[in-house]
Amino acid sequence: MKKINFFIFLIVILIVSLIFSIMFGGVSISFKDVIYTIFHPKIVDSNQTIIWKIRIPRVILGLFIGAGLAVSGCVFQGMLRNPLADPYTLGVSGGAALGASIGIIFRFEKFLGYYGLPLFAFIGAFISISLIYLLALRRNLSVTTLILIGVVLSFLFSAIVTLILSVSDPQKVHLTIIWLMGDLSLADSGLILPVSLFVIPGILILFLFSRDMDLLTLGEEKARHLGVDVKLIRRVLFLFSSIITGACVSSSGIIGFVGLMVPHFIRGFTGPGHRILLPASAIGGAILLVLADTLARTIISPLELPVGVITGIFGGIFFLIFFLRSKRKEIF
């Protein structure tokens, strides 16, 4: 079967990207040494420290966040029947940014410790998705209106963020800006557990609803006639994709275009059926973010770029080419 081959292909690429990402950084480590250190974690040397303490946590975090962003983008697009729906355009990321900058500037991390920042970002994300959710379900707005509202919310939030930044102490401003651009450099093993606790069960639960999502792409009425409990399912999908988004954004900042680009690209190979599209997007998102992060770490080494800059530049160019080259008027 073609689709199984495609999966094997994706998984092979993922493994190659993971190893590749562990090899490169401020210090390059040969393939042989990487493999040796991975299989002998107890031998303490400089490679062991770099690989196990720095690179592997970062790569694993990148993997979860990439997968999470791609899956929630995929769910939003299917549910709202619009190619432009993703956590970023719906204003969720903006809400997270606002929450996080409030957290950074007002030093809530003092009271909450290490998890202070992610917690504030999560609350911000959750508030904005609740707004979108209430507007979408209660007032029955069209998807275009929702996305416009999302964009407007993003502008509003970013204005407030700028306001907060302009009256704050410059050192914190720098930290906040790096965070806002989307960055995995703050990543360490302490974040992996909480992120994976949200992302993995979230993706598995969403996967159980793949057939419902297929039907929802035909519109609410048709989905209902075919037997989908539309209200309930929409709630479930909204809830879990927002939780995933919240967890991702709060631990890494705003990494744009992953949720928009990956499902689009994957759909071209797998078709629109979510049973395949969803897991394939998860792997695709992981590959994209791990590779982008490797590039971010090495391109101006010893300095690092925020990974959001890489996904933003490549994503933007990719999308422009994609739109200009596609001959059909519809994007799907």
């Binding site: 297929d214 039907l215 792409t217 035909l218 009425e221 209902r224 006639h225 075919l226 078709g271």
Partner: protein, 263 residues
């Protein structure tokens, strides 16, 4: 037993009543056409009996159970609906699309069973779309698309089929093709059919019972011979017509008359 019963139905949009008290019932095996001028409330009535539009008063019963209280999954195994317009924004293949009709028959974790396979195969065979199997649904012609939609509905294995103007935007050969298909299903599998139609002559030739609604109320119910008389049509549609018999089907046939010819 009544398969579907509508009792004193009132419904509309944003407090504006479109259907203003309407009752009728449908027996199992019937082929019923819903007719009426533009704005009479055909589509509103259709949306109410498909459970999409909540009614403000009155009751709709399906097999003596209140329609709105039956879970969506259960209804989908009994009633299939062909909407007038369906925007398909993703490029599913025809086969994948027809398979979606089996959603309500399978558990969440259940795979595609033998009986699902058979139902899908049969639905595609009946509608003559086996050769379109791997084509993408958004690259079909109007006639093919209608047959694919019908196949999906048949894969649900429903007892009642509801159609909203299935022949709109089709040329005459495809109109007859779709209507013949539905008529066959009604005859041979005793599938009950309720169809909203614009075309009075198609309705006359295919339906056994007609409901004529006007201004949100039931104007006349009965077989075509009783409903499609020139007095009734002129009264409801405010148009001069001549009614004769179709020489083949022996059903009433409506002729339009240009104004300049009326002397």
């Amino acid at each position: 037993m009544n398969l579907l019963e509508v009792r004193d139905l009132v419904c509309g949009y944003d407090g504006e009543e479109v259907i203003k008290g309407l009752s009728f019932s449908v027996q199992s095996g019937e082929f019923l056409g819903i007719l009426g001028p533009n704005g009479a409330g055909k589509t509103t009535l259709f949306r109410a009996i498909t459970g999409v539009l909540k009614h403000s008063s009155g009751k709709i019963y399906y097999q003596e159970k209140e329609l709105l209280e039956i879970p969506a999954r259960e209804i989908a195994r009994e009633i299939a609906v062909l909407p007038q317009i369906l925007e398909i924004s993703f490029s599913f293949s025809v086969e994948e699309f027809v398979r979606m009709g089996r959603f309500s028959h399978r558990g969440r974790l259940e795979g595609f069973r033998k009986e699902d396979e058979i139902a899908v195969e049969k639905a595609m065979e009946t509608t003559g779309i086996l050769n379109l199997k791997s084509r993408s649904v958004n690259q079909l012609s109007g006639g093919e698309r209608q047959r694919v939609l019908l196949a999906q509905a048949l894969a649900q294995e429903p007892s009642l089929l509801l159609l909203d103007e299935p022949t709109a935007h089709l040329d005459i050969s495809h109109q007859v093709e779709i209507c013949d298909l539905i008529k066959n299903l009604n005859r041979e599998k005793s599938l009950t059919v309720i169809m909203v139609l614009h075309d009075l002559n198609l309705a006359s030739d295919y339906c056994d019972q007609l409901i004529l609604i006007n201004k949100g109320k039931l104007y006349k119910i009965g077989p075509p011979e009783e409903v499609l008389t020139y007095q009734i049509i002129e009264e409801v549609y405010k148009t001069t017509v001549v009614v004769r018999q179709n020489p083949v089907s022996f059903r009433p046939h409506i002729f339009l008359v240009p104004k300049e010819r009326i002397t």
